[in-house]
Symmetry: C2
């Protein structure tokens, strides 16, 4: 896969420089910044010999823009889920498990890293196919931003753009499927208070499943058929 | 094993703070600094909630002092060896291989990380039992100091002080053995131009073998017996 490092609203330009450096250290180059601060001398000084990666970074205004053409979106968090009943951070993967999941796939793997203080927001985590949590010590689980990037890229170092076999569905296709599922839940009069939770659970399941474009099409076909059938039954 | 992080002559106090933080992130606490700069507000700011690790760090004047009571000394380098004929950086281990070597052992594992600009000096690498090299990209292999620490500690995160079974020989015992070997090479009139290289090769072999105290004693016993025998044969 093609690995893309996305920093969501980083505050500290030194961290951005440090991330550029470690991105190059592990042989990657695609760096996206969502609403970053001004990138000045300090960032370039910390980036050291990775000024090329830093200069070529893409600055965007939203997470949506950064992940638009991704095959898999993985969000990182220092707080793993604790209950299987809450799907936001569950199940979560270690960086090693992420590697195993993606190494035979093809497409863009977007890695989302959140703000230095509050990480990724819940709505950002909801957009992710996979949640990644670095196994740290409970006494102090919150890593420095660039350290978290370092550990994840270290595990992914052998994942290369041309290594995978299986072409995955693009994000747009999947989002259409998820919207379809959400509509379907309305149509079957799924209880409102459970709807959001179940939709998120389905997103997690299908995210982990790494659907191909064909599979997405088939799933939508099933939904459409069911909808037609329901229409027929209406009085 | 008990993991000890040793920074050799770090120049940048932010790096020291970042190392303190990631040391705590992975559940470790022993931090030694050889001739560090003044540790001030900046270091504590970067250390964040690991100010306890930073406050408790030991400042020493030499690598010898830092590694004195170690069972295994592992030195890190961004330049792996390229020729098996040069023993200084060869064979080298990945952080993962280091973990496998130490996980069932007992004693102090000293991890040496060198200066930001020139790393560890050759004479410091010579003192190491094991050379560790993080697999990075040839295009830019030199990692930021705290990133290198992050990756090695990430791999070692499950290695705990009380986990190992096998008590290893302490450094003093091993140094006595190495001195004995060196003396022995003189006694057998080993050619001067090859002596240093062979001594380093033996150090690497015996370092990787992770000798127990008893094995060190036995090896020295063999040398002593051979010396006596040679003495008898003298005219």
């Amino acid at each position: 896969m093609e690995v893309r490092v996305i920093l969501v609203e980083p505050k500290n330009e030194e961290n951005i420089g440090a991330v550029a450096r470690v991105t190059k250290n592990f042989g990657f180059s695609a760096l996206y910044l969502v609403n970053p601060p001004n990138i000045g001398k300090k960032a370039f000084s910390v980036a050291s010999h990775a000024s090329d990666v830093l200069s070529a970074c893409k600055i965007v205004n939203s997470v949506e823009e950064a992940i638009a053409d991704s095959a898999i979106v993985a969000g990182t968090t220092s707080k793993p889920g604790i209950s299987v009943n809450r799907h936001l951070r569950m199940p979560f993967f270690s960086p090693q498990e992420l590697k195993k999941k993606v190494e035979d796939k093809r497409g863009i793997l977007s890695l989302l890293f959140g703000r230095e203080d509050v990480g990724l927001l819940n709505e950002e985590l909801m957009r992710c196919d996979i949640v990644v949590c670095i196994p740290t010590n409970l006494g102090y689980p919150v890593m420095n931003l660039s350290h978290a990037v370092a550990v994840v890229l270290y595990e992914l170092r052998d994942v290369r753009a041309d290594s995978g076999e299986l072409p995955l569905a693009c994000l747009e296709d999947k989002e259409r499927l998820f919207a379809h599922i959400s509509m379907f839940l309305d149509e079957i009069e799924y209880k409102d208070y459970k709807k959001e939770k179940t939709a998120l659970m389905l997103r997690r399941i299908l995210g982990r499943a790494e659907l191909t474009a064909r599979e997405v099409q088939t799933l939508r076909g099933i939904l459409t058929k069911a909808e037609r059938k329901m229409g027929e039954d209406e009085p």
